[in-house]
């Protein structure tokens, strides 16, 4: 029974992956991302003495931006075609549970995003080698942490677009949460300030724990300071943190989707 359920989840995921990798808009975005990463070589020429750091920094910044754009656009395209074009009607009248369908869609978008990230990473590493930058495992760890952040983003975006009455509203709220999630680290400073009132402290503490803290997944800035690599315990903790948040958002999304009328 579980085996059949899993194969249906994989079938949905494969369908999403096939649809996305052939979609013209996503292809254009992908080519644009690669061109921008390649363009970092020119910036490298303008900043002598940076020893490849510019190339890597620009590469990572593009990976983060285009990873986010890819997942947002993929979710928009897939959900638009499902709901507005109503192709979900045919799928959900087949013997597949709504939870399996939702999980499959999550996995499919995750595959698309990771595939995009992998190709961009290979390009960054290839260009870095060409520029004689000495590479180490830290570069891979940075991408791993970045991908964990994107995993959480996929989960909450899916949850939001399921709960929201329309697709743009869902995407808008998800983008807002993504933005707040990148600023939660600053909340710590505000909470610690003596002039912050007790109710404000309570409210901010609540936001701090309820919203995923994306700065935990940002290892770019720490990369050059880590001589012997990142602490494995820290990596384990952020993996656990990302998985917990992803499961919570997936659960919320599935429950909302099970009640959604199509």
């Amino acid at each position: 029974m579980e085996n059949k359920r899993f194969s249906k989840i994989l079938a949905v995921a494969q369908n999403v992956l096939n649809e996305c990798i052939r979609h013209k808009i996503l292809n254009i975005l992908f080519v644009f991302a690669l061109a921008l990463i390649g363009g970092a070589l020119l910036i490298e020429e303008l900043s002598p003495g940076a020893q490849g750091r510019t190339l890597v920094n620009v590469g990572y910044a593009n990976m983060e931006l285009f990873g986010f754009l890819t997942l947002m656009l993929s979710l928009f395209i897939i959900t638009f075609e499902e709901i507005e074009m109503r192709n979900i009607w045919l799928t959900l009248t087949k013997p597949v549970s709504r939870s399996s369908f939702f999980t499959g869609k999550f996995l499919g978008i995750t595959f698309v995003t990771l595939l995009t990230m992998a190709v961009m990473f290979l390009l960054v590493m290839g260009l870095s080698l060409l520029s004689r930058v000495s590479l180490n495992l830290n570069y891979l760890v940075i991408v791993y942490a970045m991908s964990l952040g994107l995993l959480v983003t996929i989960a909450f975006t899916l949850a939001f677009i399921t709960i929201a009455t329309n697709l743009p509203t869902g995407l808008m709220f998800a983008s807002l949460l993504f933005l707040i999630g990148h600023l939660t680290e600053h909340l710590k400073g505000i909470i610690a300030k003596p002039e912050t009132t007790v109710p404000a402290k309570l409210a901010l503490t609540l936001v701090y724990y309820a919203v995923p803290n994306f700065s935990l997944f940002n290892l770019k800035d720490k990369a050059y300071m880590q001589e012997g690599g990142f602490d494995p315990l820290y990596l384990l903790l952020i993996t656990f943190y990302a998985l917990v948040f992803s499961f919570i958002f997936l659960y919320i999304g599935i429950k909302a989707f099970e009640k959604k009328e199509l």
Binding site: M85, W89, T165
Partner: protein, 244 residues
């Protein structure tokens, strides 16, 4: 045995934001029993609630009150969906996939053994005359061709109950005839068919029983053979007599 049963089925849609809720009642207390191997035609004006009714039967929308059973099981349940096939009014498919890919995807959901999948897909595509176009992306397809892919997906799982919402919508005369032939062959094979349509000729030719839905209420349910004269004038008379 009863194939389709609706008991006190009502559906009210709630739309708008919480400060401006709007309620629209699409179905009002429908009681209906359709026997196995029967072909039932549901007639009604535009906006009468026909599509909502069929969507409730296949589990896409949930009843506000009442219950729906297909072959004795709750409608919309995963197990129930193994025995049904559904064709929406204008079927849409992922645009960048091919008919072969989308039908193979459906065979996976139907749990058809891997070694039989391709054979089933090819058979269905041949039946609707799209075998040669099986590797063309669906974005290249016309409305009529998409409708034919929709018909092909009906033939994948050896369903017992078929729900067809305007199956000849957008089809040219030849494809319309092909569609009717497919429905008739399903009827001959002893399948239960629930048909939503505006085509009175289709109903007279195919259906055993009809129901007329007006303003969300099932105002009449009768055998086609009981109808004297043209079905069209019968329909108009009943709807006008209902007066809503």
């Amino acid at each position: 045995m009863t194939a389709i049963e609706a008991k006190g089925l009502s559906k009210t849609y709630i739309s708008g934001h919480f400060w401006n809720r709007k309620r629209t009642t699409a179905l009002r207390g429908i009681d209906l029993k359709i026997k196995e191997k029967q072909v039932f035609g549901l007639l009604g004006l535009n906006g009468a609630g026909k599509t909502t009714f069929i969507k409730t039967l296949v589990g896409l929308v949930f009843p506000t009150t009442g219950r729906v059973y297909i072959l004795g099981k709750e409608a919309g349940h995963v197990q129930t969906r193994k025995s049904i096939a559904y064709l929406p009014e204008m079927p849409y498919f992922p645009r960048y996939l091919t008919p072969e890919e989308i039908l193979l995807f459906y065979t996976k959901l139907y749990e058809i053994p891997e070694n039989e999948r391709r054979e089933k897909v090819f058979f269905a595509l041949k039946e609707v005359g799209l075998y040669e176009k099986r590797t063309v992306q669906l974005k290249e397809f016309s409305k009529g061709m998409l409708q034919r892919v929709g018909i092909a997906q009906l033939l994948l799982n050896d369903a017992k109950v078929f729900f067809l919402d305007e199956p000849t919508y957008g089809l040219d005369p030849l494809s319309t005839k092909q569609m009717r032939d497919i429905i008739l062959s399903l009827k001959k094979a002893g399948k239960t068919i629930f048909l939503n349509t505006h085509q009175m000729g289709e109903v007279k030719q195919i259906c055993d029983r009809i129901g007329i839905l007006n303003n969300g209420q099932l105002i009449i349910e009768t055998d086609v053979k009981n109808i004297k004269g043209s079905l069209e004038s019968y329909f108009v008379k009943k709807v006008q007599a209902d007066g809503k």
